[in-house]
């Protein structure tokens, strides 16, 4: 009897506060794995440039620690608390984007995408803030619209809501990939909120057809001046054609993956990180993972992302309300889109565009805001009552 009492007690406690340990484990695993890989990928260059092999790793560690604290804080706060900031955040994040053009903007890697936060020594990417705010805003919007999402007006509002952000990000920071991600997240949230399939099939089909047509068009007019974006397409189709030039980074990534083989060269043994592969600790870190840990390492990372996806799907499915579910869907979309696009770029499945691998790539803003988003997901998961799922 006493035993059964104890079990019931434990169940009761659990049902009081559900916590998704699997999610936490996957996130921490990716984070720690990221530290190791950033150290491995960047130590050689970091030592040469800053005299400290752990330079990048330390910066990432600091950002991640801040992010983890914020994650815990956010997860303790009921997610409905954030509802009231949705519109303010939406507008704030939009207005923050042009700030990169002011003296607060920080130039790095030939692009101005960061804002200096005075005093902390960390730079923020307004695009990252925009992603978080967009998720929050659209989740609130969907819950407010309710069934009206299916009306033309509701649908139109949902489609138009992220466009301004996308335009700002593209125009002010010259960051097409972030704009695409923001739009992708919004599109996914709309898809989940809407009860229609037809529209999305039509849009998806149309999108694929348009992209195919564009690629064919560019391929056929090779030689004439195709501009910056179409050049990327050409390089994508044949990276060796411009090995020393535009195809350099892609080709170096392919070298890295190719020389890793099945089991890799072993942790720390990458050759490509020795200044051969640009951005080896950043956008291209997945190719260093493949070089050092081989196909095995690549499969592990992809598996971890699939597991993360699955955990968030479970939480979204069991969210207490539409708002909570949409929040989780947005975060899931953000992580999944970035991971898919990053790996696709590294494997030259799509043309080269700068997208970082969530939790693993070097980048303070990115990891900080991702952890805040995970905090939101955890907050939603706390609202799940176990009795409902059993």
């Amino acid at each position: 009897m006493a035993e059964r009492e104890a079990v019931r007690k434990r169940n009761k406690r659990k049902s009081d506060s559900y916590f998704d340990y699997s999610l936490l484990f996957v996130v921490l695993f990716l984070l720690v794995f990221g530290f190791i890989m950033i150290y491995s990928a960047s130590s050689y260059n970091a030592f040469q440039d800053y005299g400290d092999p752990a330079y990048y790793m330390k910066k990432q560690l600091l950002a991640a620690l801040i992010g983890l604290v914020l994650m815990v804080v956010v997860s303790k706060i009921p997610y409905h608390f954030f509802e009231r900031f949705a519109l303010a955040g939406f507008i704030f994040s939009l207005l923050l984007i042009p700030v990169v053009k002011t003296p607060l903007g920080v130039n790095s890697h030939g692009a101005t995408r960061w804002i200096k936060i005075p005093g902390i020594g960390l730079n923020l990417q307004p695009a990252e803030i925009a992603k978080l705010c967009m998720i929050l805003f659209l989740a609130v919007l969907v819950s407010k619209l309710g069934r009206n999402v299916d009306t033309f007006k509701g649908f139109a509002i949902m489609v138009c809501a992220p466009l301004l952000h996308c335009a700002f990000i593209y125009l002010f920071t010259k960051n097409l990939s972030s704009a695409i991600i923001v739009f992708g997240i919004s599109f996914l949230m709309l898809f989940v909120a809407s009860s229609s399939y037809k529209v999305f099939f039509a849009l998806g089909g149309g999108g694929i057809a348009a992209v195919t047509a564009l690629v064919l068009y560019i391929v056929n007019k090779v030689g004439t001046d195709g501009g910056f974006r179409s050049e990327r397409i050409i390089v994508w189709l044949n990276p060796e054609s411009q090995a020393q030039d535009k195809g350099f980074q892609t080709l170096q990534a392919l070298y890295a993956i190719g020389s890793g083989g099945t089991w890799g060269k072993g942790l720390g043994q990458s050759m490509q990180k020795l200044s051969f592969l640009p951005e080896s600790q950043n956008d291209m870190i997945f190719s260093i993972i493949c070089e050092e840990l081989g196909l095995f390492g690549g499969i592990c990372v992809i598996s971890m992302f699939i597991m993360l996806l699955w955990r968030m799907l479970v939480i979204a499915n069991n969210a207490p309300d539409l708002y909570g579910a949409m929040l989780v869907v947005g975060v899931m979309g953000h992580i999944a889109i970035q991971a898919v696009l990053n790996i696709a770029v590294v494997t030259n499945t799509i043309p080269n565009t700068g997208i970082s691998l969530p939790f693993i790539s070097y980048g303070g803003s990115s990891v900080m805001f991702l952890l805040i988003e995970i905090g939101l997901v955890m907050s939603v998961s706390r609202g799940i009552r176990l009795a409902d799922t059993q």
């Binding site: 392919l254 993956i257 083989g261 050759m271 996806l309 899931m332 898919v340």
Partner: protein, 572 residues
């Protein structure tokens, strides 16, 4: 729970999740394909990361027929500095300038130049290289290397040839057998980062060099040395421009000696001798002078053979049957061909003589008579049959071709002059080869130096075979030629070539170089022994001798002295 369309949203979420999972799986499959079919990119990556450093293969030696080394290698060192590894530049400059005997500023320039690796000095003696290496100076690299050395200095210089800075043959056998001698260089593959800095902890792959094969030649150091001495004596005594001596085995074409004095020092092949006036030459003049110095007169230059060519006319006449050895001929001191009077070298005439005596006296009108009896067509066909229009195929570069009248331009006058060896040009090796085929039973052999290649343990790797054309001349005519030529030496114009105790056959020649008015002569003698079964044939050519210039008087003694020394040794 909740007020929202749970079922619909849940389904949508699942669809979205599945779509993403599907995308991940597609990428996974792509990654699998990339990692498994990775030869292409992994090879390209290796090429990118690996820095090749060649290890020179030791070049094969050149040996004489008895295994005496004619061309060898010695270990020398190349001293280089690597700018960004130098810790104490002043000390490096001080030590290197002292040890290498270079001015301080020269070394300073190398040390302070920002480059991955800067060569300070090459061809440094091994002892000095070892000394520098033992000092263990950071940033100073001592690489061992091979340098060609020729123990006999100038001996057979124009035959052996020498090598250039990359160990490649420049002239002579060194260039003809370059591939065999070179071997395969080894490789040290080291890993480097993108800036080309070698990574010490990544280890290195090493491919050992394969040494070049040793080349065994038909040369005989003793014969070559002795022939060189005789040639130099003759050159000095006659104040001649140059003297060539060829010694060959008429049975198989193996060349025992090939002398062209003045020779040059193979260990210092770019130094012009004083007679060339090394001072004040332009770069081109200097190169031309060097090329002249390196020329092998026996092979690269043609000359008018003169009376030695009467052997060929005689053989053709005897073979064709237009004369026999008893055919009588009366020499009045001149003969008239068409409208031309051609004198005999004995203006008073040789009088009545049989053909053997015509040859013994080297009578011009008699041989003109043979030529005219043969006629242009027949004579020309023998000229061709004896192989005089082709190159001999000797294994040295730059063999000169025969300069001969075209058949259609050949009248009786031309025929008459060709019959006693004038108005056309051949190389000495061509004459010797043709003479060989007349006395060896009618086989035209290919003159050559290379006999076989051997590895360092003495195992034969490849034996060279040379084409041989039989049936040039009948055995009977050959026997007759040997008999006549023996008479020439024993009792005729070649009696200075007689060697006590041996039967020597031969023919002398004295030809005037063009233009005839220059008063320059070429005296030569071809002699073979034993006359009944020739085992060696030799030839001496003295260019532009002063004073007495008759081949029988000055060239025949050279071969006689040579034979006196080498016949006991060769025919034991």
């Amino acid at each position: 729970m909740g007020e929202y369309n749970k079922i619909g949203n849940r389904k949508k979420m699942l669809v979205a999740g599945l779509l993403f999972t599907l995308m991940f799986l597609v990428l996974l499959v792509r990654l699998c394909i990339m990692c498994i079919n990775n030869e292409h990119y992994s090879q390209m990556a290796d090429d990118l990361h690996e820095r090749e450093r060649k290890i020179k293969a030791p070049r094969g030696k050149i040996l004489d027929r008895n295994g005496v080394v004619l061309a060898d290698n010695k270990t020398v060192c190349t001293i280089s500095v690597i700018h960004n590894q130098i810790e104490d530049p002043e000390k490096v400059i001080e030590v290197l300038s002292r040890e290498l005997d270079l001015s301080e500023e020269t070394v300073r320039k190398r040390v302070e130049k920002y480059s991955s690796m800067e060569r300070v000095k090459s061809n440094v003696e091994k002892t000095i290289g070892d000394k520098i290496r033992n000092m263990d100076l950071a940033g100073v690299k001592v690489d061992e290397d091979y340098k060609r050395t020729y123990p006999y200095g100038s001996l057979a210089s124009k035959v052996l040839g020498f090598t250039g800075g990359d160990n490649q043959g420049i002239i002579g056998l060194e260039v003809v057998y370059d591939k065999v001698l070179q071997g395969t260089p080894g490789l040290i593959l080291t890993m480097t980062d993108a800036k080309g800095i070698e990574l010490e902890d990544r280890g290195e792959r090493r491919q050992e060099p394969i040494a070049g094969l040793n080349l065994v030649t038909s040369l005989d150091v003793n014969i070559q040395t002795y022939a060189t001495q005789l040639a130099m004596q003759a050159m000095a005594a006659k104040e001649a421009e140059r003297v060539s001596v060829l010694v060959m085995n008429p049975q198989n074409g193996e060349i025992y000696a090939c002398v062209n004095v003045p020779e040059f020092d193979l260990n210092d092949p770019y130094r012009l001798s004083e007679s060339e006036g090394a001072e004040g030459l332009t770069e081109k003049e200097k190169q031309d002078a060097l090329n002249r110095m390196w020329r092998n007169g026996c092979i690269n230059d043609t000359y008018e053979p003169g009376s030695t060519f009467k052997m060929i006319t005689a053989a053709a006449g005897l073979e064709e049957g237009v004369i026999t050895k008893d055919s009588p001929y009366y020499c009045s001191g001149y003969t008239v061909v068409d409208d031309r009077v051609i004198h005999c070298h004995k203006r008073t005439g040789h009088g009545s003589q049989d053909f053997v005596h015509c040859m013994m006296n080297s009578c011009n009108p008699a041989l003109i008579n043979v030529g005219l009896k043969l006629g242009v067509d027949t004579y020309y066909s023998y000229f061709e049959k004896f192989g005089l229009l082709q190159k001999t195929g000797i294994d040295l570069p730059g063999e000169a071709t025969t300069i001969m009248h075209k058949k259609e331009n050949m009248g009786n006058v031309e025929l008459a002059t060709v019959a006693f060896g004038q108005s056309f040009q051949i190389t000495p090796i061509q004459l010797l080869t043709t003479a060989s085929s007349l006395i060896n039973g009618g086989r035209r052999v290919t003159p050559h130096f290379a006999v076989k290649t051997v590895d360092n343990d003495g195992n034969t790797k490849e034996e060279y075979e040379y084409p041989e054309q039989a049936g040039i001349l009948s055995e009977e005519t050959g026997a007759l030629m040997r008999e006549i030529l023996e008479m020439v030496v024993s009792e005729g114009s070649g009696k200075n070539g007689k060697v006590e105790g041996y039967r020597v056959g031969g023919k002398t020649a004295t030809s005037q170089t063009l233009p005839r008015s220059s008063g320059r002569y070429i005296a030569s003698f071809v002699g073979f022994a034993p006359a009944d079964d020739p085992q060696v044939i030799a030839m001496a050519i003295i260019h532009d001798p002063k004073g007495v210039y008759y081949g029988g008087t000055i060239a025949a003694p050279v071969i006689r002295q040579l034979y006196e020394n080498i016949l006991p040794y060769l025919l034991k």
